[in-house]
Subunit: 165 residues, 2 copies
């Protein structure tokens, strides 16, 4: 479990954790891959969320997923992208979190993901929590913890017992 002092300092930056959905580029699962290529080549993220018609989160798509579909044996063919939709290549079973997320889960899941999609109870996409914003909070915590607190190493169990006796 994450200790109280570390947790409280990390959560002082909590209101900056979520990048809201309206500021995150996305594509729809039935968009042709040629459209996804255009969007992905213009945004700074290497992966973006895929939504269905009801704005529900259904997966992620990367530039690499799209480019893969352009390759044939000898060359790269843009026209091939018109034959596929985003749903054909997107990554599914992606870790997501709810709006009432726990810091413990965010810290753990961001080891393996560059960002975490946040969804409401109906799976509607609400935004993302990124490693970048978490690392800002970690810098804050690492600098403030020992400025605001005194850290005393715990004695091991045996010595505590001896003192009690």
């Amino acid at each position: 479990m994450i200790g109280t002092a570390v947790k409280e300092l990390l959560l002082e930056k909590e209101n900056t954790f979520l990048i809201p959905a309206e500021n995150v580029a996305n594509v729809m699962c039935l968009n042709p891959l040629s459209h996804a290529l255009l969007v992905l080549s213009q945004v700074k993220y290497s992966k973006i969320p895929v939504l269905d018609k009801g704005d529900r989160f259904v997966g992620l798509i990367s530039l690499s997923d799209v480019v893969d579909k352009m390759f044939d044996i000898t060359s790269v063919d843009f026209d091939k992208l018109k034959d596929f939709t985003v749903a054909d290549v997107m990554e599914v079973n992606v870790p997501i979190i709810g709006e009432e997320w726990e810091l413990e889960d965010v810290l753990h899941l961001l080891v393996d993901a560059a960002f975490l999609p946040v969804v409401d109870d109906n799976q509607c996409f609400k935004g993302i929590i990124t490693r970048k914003e978490l690392l800002k909070a970690i810098n804050h915590m690492a600098h403030e913890l020992e400025r605001k607190n005194i850290i005393l190493p715990k004695s091991d169990d045996e010595s505590i017992e001896m003192k009690v006796i």
Copy 2:
């Protein structure tokens, strides 16, 4: 400044921070972009290091940098990539760190970069430090700090003075 207890716990994972150069895909600055496209479409990183003939680090290249050069007004043309080298599109003036890096700098620079190239005194590329490995160390620290230490909030200066008197 990062406090001693936080720093020591983070550095317990120090030997896993560096992913050595031999395990990181790279391209040479004079490679044609068609080669870079092939390499970038096959690796898991969205950006990879660019080296010169002497294995010195000179920049980064992303799949997005390459795809941009394939676009013309109406379509995407793979053959255009043969007219350019990696050096024509790579990102330069990238933050790098030396082999004797400070944790403070790593924590600070990884807010804005997914990974940091590590170079020796001759600018030779030695590997990368990634957000992923740093976040593993942060998870370790966040869980261990209050298990191993007692955290006492510091009194403000006035009350300390009163106690001393």
